[in-house]
Amino acid sequence: MNFDFSDDQKMLKDQARKFLEDKCSYGDVRTVLESDASHHDDIWQGLCDLGFTGAAIPEEYGGLGLGALELCVIAEELGRSAAPVPFSSSIYMAAEAIKIGGSESLKQAWLPKLASGEIIGTLAAAEGPAAPTPRNTKTSFANGKLTGRKLPVPDGETASVAIVLANTGGTGEQAVSLVVVDLTQDGVTRSSVETIDPTRGHAEISFDNVDASLLGVTGEGWALMKRVEAGAAVLVAFEQVGGTEAALHMAKDYSLDRYAFGRQIGSYQAIKHKLADMYVKLELARSNAYYGAMVLAQEGADLELAAASARISATEAYRFAAQECIQVHGGIGFTWEANPQFHYRRSKLLALSLGSASRWKNRLVSELEKSNVA
């Protein structure tokens, strides 16, 4: 039984943690919260310089040629520090989509730049406040041209390339395809939008008959996107696990510091049991995330099930820990100057970034129905 990360992976994790502890304090995250910036460029450049952006990109495309497990340990640390960087859009989504579904020429065109961090990538699926589905995807792609409007697009203001879910005229799930779009061309209009987590920039992007290239096969965009989402779900689960642990520790530390009625508030059962519940959810989430990582790294057949489990578990853990971290802090907890807000905002952002937990629960049960467990 060897259900753990390797020593090398743990070293990489330590490296990421040290860098982020040094460069990405809550004070640093706050500068993004309180500015119009889409992300924190120094932190982002530092991560690129350390090679983290290229960690899981093959060496022939300028990456380090490591695997999913290495991305997982980096993700956990990004999540712990609530890092205000476009790592997930650029790497889990854009780079992974191109790695999985892209032609050789697409890979050569985009992966080296994404690996080095020279450019930022993203994936644009949603078209406003509703679940993106083949049925309600209005953005259309035909004859090499893309037209439509996507909202919200993570890092949409700063990204140079986007993978876009577009209608290509089929029926049912075959109605949509993924296309790759250079966002720096004319006809692409973008404006930032306000979200619940200003530490991670989001934009509205309109495409007016712009050039785009098919990613993979026409009509298979939905299946491809689900595969990309499954991988991203595992990686985001590690961010959520990191964030959960940070929120738990923040709450715990405060409960030891704060006195009420002559005692540390951490000595009251209402607080103790709340923190115990956070811990229990954290451990379940971590265990499910580990399994997701293993399946992702081994490209196992049950990735969809493992990814859904990791995501559902981690979403619940982070929701509870971030929300109750504020509660444990009492009055100071909901002030702008205090730090619990970072995890409250981020927990909800990550909970929705790949669609809600309900969506993933439905996906999970569909998998259970297929597999003959019962």
Binding site: P129, D197, R263, G330, G333, F334, K348, A357
Partner: protein, 412 residues
């Protein structure tokens, strides 16, 4: 069993209706929950003072107060009837609740007749606004753990320290404050209570920004603030007893929450597509909708039971204490769930792009504070279990220990 007024109540209600119809503008029912005025706070305060004066003139500003203080000498149920009727009108709200609900009742009990002569009517007529200075950074749930100190200096007292969560401090004229006069005795025994002019030199007021972006609360700093001994309420060292008068009145003022509720969620569910079809067809959405509907109705009819007790001249039972316990988490969960229904787009807080002007998103952010302000979920459960169910207090290690020997964060 019915929701009808008694004949006396009906008579009072029709008088109120008549007066309101003559003096105020009906609320636009189609704009029921839009709520937020576009006017500046200063402009709204001017309007509120005008309205308050008019109301006080008619006797409706403090229905239950004795007539000598400008009240109507009326009953609690009359006060409720007035509020119910006023809710149908577009009148300014939110400036006088603390002053008239907590500060002035404390004055009426503890100040001299001359002081009440001087202060009660101007407050009632909206000429002077009052705030309450109790909470401190290190004394939240444990109010009596406060550290702002007062020292005697001739006929005056010198106050130094910091208060926090003071609603409206920046526009208030007067405030009531509880301070520590003797740190060498157990904490409840060393407190002394004053009222003061908020324009006194040495008072500095800074707004507190909340994560929701709102800033209705303030920090108030006291640097050698001089208050005459004549403005002391109650004896030296008896400040806790005076505070209890105020807090007792606060308890009555805590209501249920407002904000988006099941109606708005139903509307959203009807208008939003999930992956499998319209959200309203989803059994999980329906389950949640039903749960929140039932909670809302439960709170509403609990209030009706309270009103029934008032109508019969009884003191309402403790059932009225449950409103905030239920509505805080409900606001948070409902907001969060509504965001989930919106999928990835649920993160949008842009009022143009997000359904209902991002009302769900704003509620989700604000509810994190609502579950804390005015008594945390945990403190409210303590109160219910102790005051309603009669369960024992938790072990109190701070009862017989001099305040300055108590364990505290600052002294670790």
């Amino acid at each position: 069993m019915d929701f009808n007024d008694t004949p006396e109540e009906a008579k009072f209600r029709s008088e109120v209706r008549e007066w309101l119809a003559a003096n105020a503008r009906p609320r636009d029912p189609n704009n029921a929950k839009a709520g937020v005025s576009t006017k500046s706070e200063a402009e709204r305060l001017v309007r509120a003072k005008e309205w308050q004066a008019k109301k006080a003139d008619a006797g409706y500003a403090a229905i239950t107060w004795p007539t000598e203080y400008g009240g109507l000498g009326g009953t609690s149920i009359q006060s409720v009837i007035y509020s119910q009727e006023e809710a149908n009108y577009d009148v300014p709200r939110g400036f006088f609740e603390i002053g008239l609900g907590m500060c002035i009742p404390t004055m009426m009990k503890w100040a001299t007749p001359e002081q009440n002569e001087r202060y009660v009517k101007p407050a009632l007529f909206g000429e002077e606004v009052w705030c309450q200075l109790f909470s401190e950074p290190a004394a939240g749930s444990d109010v009596a753990g406060l550290r702002t100190k007062c020292e005697r200096d001739g006929d005056d007292w010198i106050i130094n320290g910091q208060k926090v969560w003071t609603s409206g401090a920046h526009f208030c004229d007067y405030g009531i404050i509880v301070t520590r006069s003797d740190p060498t005795v157990p904490k409840h025994k060393g407190l002394t209570f004053f009222f003061l002019d908020m324009k006194t030199p040495g008072i500095e007021i800074r707004p507190i920004k909340q994560i929701s972006g709102g800033a209705g609360f303030n920090e108030v700093f006291f640097n050698d603030v001089r208050v005459p001994d004549s403005q002391r309420l109650g004896d030296v060292g008896e400040g806790w007893k005076v505070s209890l008068t105020t807090l007792m009145n606060e308890r009555l003022a805590i209501g249920g929450g407002s904000g988006v509720d099941y109606e708005e969620l139903l509307k959203l569910a009807r208008e939003t597509e999930l992956e499998e079809g319209p959200a309203i067809k989803d059994a999980n959405v329906r389950e949640k909708l039903a749960d929140w509907y039932v909670q809302s109705q439960g709170l509403k009819y609990t209030k009706f039971r309270t009103l029934t007790a008032l109508s019969k001249g009884q003191v309402p039972g403790a059932e009225s204490s449950i409103g905030k316990i239920v509505s805080g988490p409900k606001m948070q969960d409902l907001g969060s769930f509504a965001m989930d229904i919106q999928g990835q787009g649920g993160i949008l807080q842009d009022t143009d792009e997000s359904p209902m002007g991002a009302a769900f998103q704003n509620q989700w952010l604000g509810a994190a504070g609502y579950r804390i302000a005015g008594g945390t979920d945990e403190i409210l459960r303590n109160i219910v279990s102790e005051q309603v169910l009669g369960l024992p207090q938790d072990i109190r290690v701070d009862k017989n220990v001099p305040f300055n020997e108590l364990a505290s964060s600052a002294k670790k």
